[in-house]
């Protein structure tokens, strides 16, 4: 069922699969982007360790700028630097950036269409014990609606590294969504990655599961379990929420006839919404969107929260079976 061209790790479902937070991949990608282009600079709002900007600071101390707890000026100062020719990455928790500085991102980043790159760490409910204030679930909606913005939601640390390097090369503002928790590394250096492309990870024509972020791994586990019931599932990694890979998604809807979307974010305005906007116009198809259903998170262990909010494989299996009945 797994597509060989996806070049996923060999023992995909081994209990010993390596895990790492996507923010670590961002940290490595940022250093690599800095090596490739001297114009890359990094700005941080008092969260350099947990956003993994620290590696960049050590590699390029002259190109690292500490702003303090000032997310609005974080965005606007960075845009001013972009106007003067730099490629600034701004890093904070997603709840604060892009949560607190949306207007600055809109006006100075998107309307001016400058090279403002936003890394939103600690996105989603899997932030865990910190609770709802720090669990950003509205960021995909906030960023996706902005003209000129590119939105990337990498599924593991390796893809996060690729997404960060790609973000530096895109001409214009980019949002990269990152998680706090260690999650399985299931793609490899050889796995294809392209902005604007969704990757088909498993073959199947019974139902399509379109996921982004670490939920892609849950989707793959769901597909494995569905196979036991004779259901062949097409799992799609929708890393590029904007621009959306319309071709791959429409094809999946046509060939499968039923779709489940999964994301660790509000279903209102999120990646699932983007899929529904597309399909309602181009190929009306039954869809179940999984994610936060107009509610905030709470404190708890990440795995408890993911279970509570139905973001684990068994819940995806149920949704897949349910949506298939509506074909």
């Amino acid at each position: 069922m797994i597509v060989s061209s996806a070049k996923l790790v060999k023992d995909l479902f081994a209990k010993t699969i390596k895990t790492e937070p996507t923010r670590n991949g961002f940290g490595r990608g940022l250093v690599e982007a800095g090596k490739r282009n001297v114009s890359v600079v990094a700005l941080c709002a008092d969260l350099s360790e947990s956003t993994r900007v620290l590696d960049f600071k050590h590699a390029f101390p002259d190109r690292y700028i500490q702003i303090g707890v000032s997310e609005q000026s974080l965005a606007a100062i960075a845009s001013g630097m972009a106007l003067a020719g730099k490629i600034p990455f701004i890093a904070s928790y997603a709840a604060f950036s892009p949560g607190r500085n949306w207007e600055q991102i809109r006006t100075t980043g998107c309307l001016q269409n400058v090279n403002l790159k936003i890394a939103g760490a600690h996105a989603g409910i899997s932030v865990g014990p910190d609770g709802a204030t720090h669990q950003m679930t509205e960021d995909i909606a906030l960023m996706r609606v902005l003209p000129n913005m590119t939105v990337l939601v990498p599924c593991d640390a390796i893809e996060a590294e690729k997404a960060t390097i790609a973000a530096a090369e895109i001409d214009g503002p980019v949002y990269v969504r990152l998680g706090r928790e260690a999650t399985p590394i299931f793609t490899t250096e050889k796995s294809p990655f392209e902005v604007g492309k969704a990757q088909v990870l498993s073959k199947g024509n019974d139902v399509a599961i379109i996921a982004c972020g670490p939920q892609v791994y849950e989707a793959l586990k769901a597909a494995r379990d569905l196979e036991k019931s004779g259901i062949e599932t097409r799992v799609i990694n929708c890393v590029s929420v904007k621009p959306l890979d319309t071709e791959t998604i429409i094809k999946a809807a046509k060939e499968c006839g039923a779709v489940v979307t999964v994301e660790e974010a509000q279903i209102a305005g999120g990646m699932g919404s983007a899929v529904c906007e597309l399909l309602s116009q181009e190929c009306p198809t039954p869809v179940i969107r999984m994610g936060m259903r107009d509610e905030f998170g709470q404190s708890g262990k990440p795995e408890e929260l993911l279970e509570h909010y139905h973001l684990t494989a068994p819940w995806i299996v149920r949704a897949a079976k349910s949506v298939m009945k509506r074909k």
């Binding site: 002259d62 190109r63 700028i65 702003i67 303090g68 000032s70 609005q72 000026s73 606007a76 100062i77 960075a78 845009s79 001013g80 630097m81 972009a82 106007l83 003067a84 020719g85 730099k86 600034p88 207007e103 600055q104 006006t107 100075t108 309307l111 001016q112 269409n113």
Partner: protein, 293 residues
Amino acid sequence: MPQRRHTPSAITDGDVRKLELIANTIREDILKMLLTAGSGHSAGPLGMADIFTALYFHILHHNPKRPTWDERDRLFLSNGHIVPVRYVTMAHAGYFPVAELQTLRKFGSRLQGHPEMRFLPGLENTSGPLGDGSSQAVGTAYVAKMDGSPWHTYCVMSDGELECGITWEAALFAAKNQLNNLTWIIDRNNIQIDGYTEDIMPLEPLHDKFTAFGWNVLEIDGHNIRDIINACDRGESTWEAPTVIIAHTIPGKGVSFMECEPSWHGKPPKDRKELGRALRELRTLNGAIEAGS
């Protein structure tokens, strides 16, 4: 930081007189374009005509024929709503034809209601939402220091926007990094949309606030050309801190019924008759000289 081509701007009484006359022409054109546009802000642009004239006709190193010239001084506008004064000054400085001023706020015009760099070359930033321009100016000045570029970054901003928290975030950052290549010019006209600044949200003692934030603070009469030029010179030659010039201005300057009147913050002259009254006052310096002389 490399030595800048800084020379004190020797200025004669004749130069000052010439600049004052340009400023007056700019005021007339502001009112004319606002009447045609049918909407827009009158008070702020009139109050800032002297400062924009001094900037474009004496202080800034710029080239209207090469608006993206690398070595130009950067002039950010943070309070985008006063952009009519910038448009008129730019037109008279040679950035675009004066006739184009009549397209202000019209469909298809490069002269958007609030300034947009994607339409008009020569604008350093897009602004309107208050507080963003001054932060961006700080970012640009920081890059100039990083790269050892000799140009200076100016930012014109309002007093009302000092109520935005982001302004003080940027002020902290500029002082921390000793951005001596940055000058903020605050239009201290004491009015904002809902009334007088000191009623809405008191800003005084403003001078002391910026001093406490680590800035080099200068306070001037924003209608005195010589004061404006001298203050900018001092800002450019200060080495240890960013400079803020608190420019005391009269909103609606030059037109008696607009001066210091908050209701003129956000509206244009209502008809040709009202425009005529305003132009007559400007042309006669409020009756000090005979019309037509």
